[in-house]
């Protein structure tokens, strides 16, 4: 039973560029949430997708957008990268009927130079 997978593992970009991060949920899960974790801090909720729509959003600017595909996988897009966007980006999946337990992927480390 495959767990949550994320790609790529690491990414280096320069200011102003755009980036796309990918997440495949745990088998059987239909809901994907994205979190940003700055170094030494707790994760911050970005947004959540299910039924291919953004259902809830945290306090992040419109530069952060996402998508969910029919197979429940998801992408996180960040435009006009800033130095402050450097962080670990975590994806978590869950099953709507059992939303209380989220399973996290290993994360993508994004460095913006």
């Amino acid at each position: 039973d495959a767990g949550v997978t994320q790609s790529p593992t690491h990414l280096i970009k320069t200011r102003g560029q755009q980036v796309t991060l990918r997440c495949s949920p745990k088998s059987g899960h239909d809901t994907v949430s994205w979190y940003q974790q700055a170094l030494g801090q707790g994760p911050q909720f970005i947004f959540q997708y299910y039924e291919e729509e953004e259902r809830q959003r945290g306090n992040f600017p419109d530069r952060f957008s996402g998508h969910q595909f029919p197979n429940y996988s998801s992408e996180l897009n960040v435009n006009a990268l800033l130095l402050g966007d450097s962080a670990l980006y975590l994806c978590a999946s869950s099953l709507r009927g059992q939303i209380n337990t989220q399973y996290f992927g290993p994360g993508t480390r994004l460095t913006v130079l």
Binding site: T31, S33, P43, R55, G58, L90, Y103, F104, G107
Partner: protein
């Protein structure tokens, strides 16, 4: 807005000893869930234990147990018989029950646990 506070940036324990990590939270909701997650250097966030607010009984998972004090809004994690593999960053997290808050976890700042052999 809900907030979660972990007042211990770092804790240490000797192998085989017991350690308690503290967490307090602030909410006006009556229906919610609390979690402890472990994040080792590999970065993978692993669920350690979960507590439903409506349950009076404290959750237990093998060597891990919680002390849930709803009135005091306190949710501490006790690790018994500490092992070297317990060394990690531990996060306390809150999730509102039901409604439209599916899946939004609010995390504390984390506590780094060091286990000494």
């Amino acid at each position: 807005a809900q907030t979660v506070t972990q007042s211990q940036p770092e804790m240490s324990v000797q192998e085989a000893e017991t350690v308690t990590l503290s967490c307090t939270y602030d909410t006006s909701e009556s229906d919610y869930y609390l979690f402890w997650y472990k994040q080792p250097p590999s970065r993978q966030m692993i669920l350690v234990i979960r507590q439903e607010a409506y349950k009076q009984q404290n959750a237990t998972e093998n060597r891990f147990s919680v002390n849930f004090q709803k009135a005091a809004k306190s949710f501490s994690l006790k690790i018994s018989d500490s092992q070297l593999g317990d060394a990690a960053m531990y996060f306390c997290a809150y999730r509102r029950g039901g409604g439209t808050s599916y899946g939004k976890l609010t995390f504390g700042q984390g506590t780094i646990l060091t286990v000494h052999p």
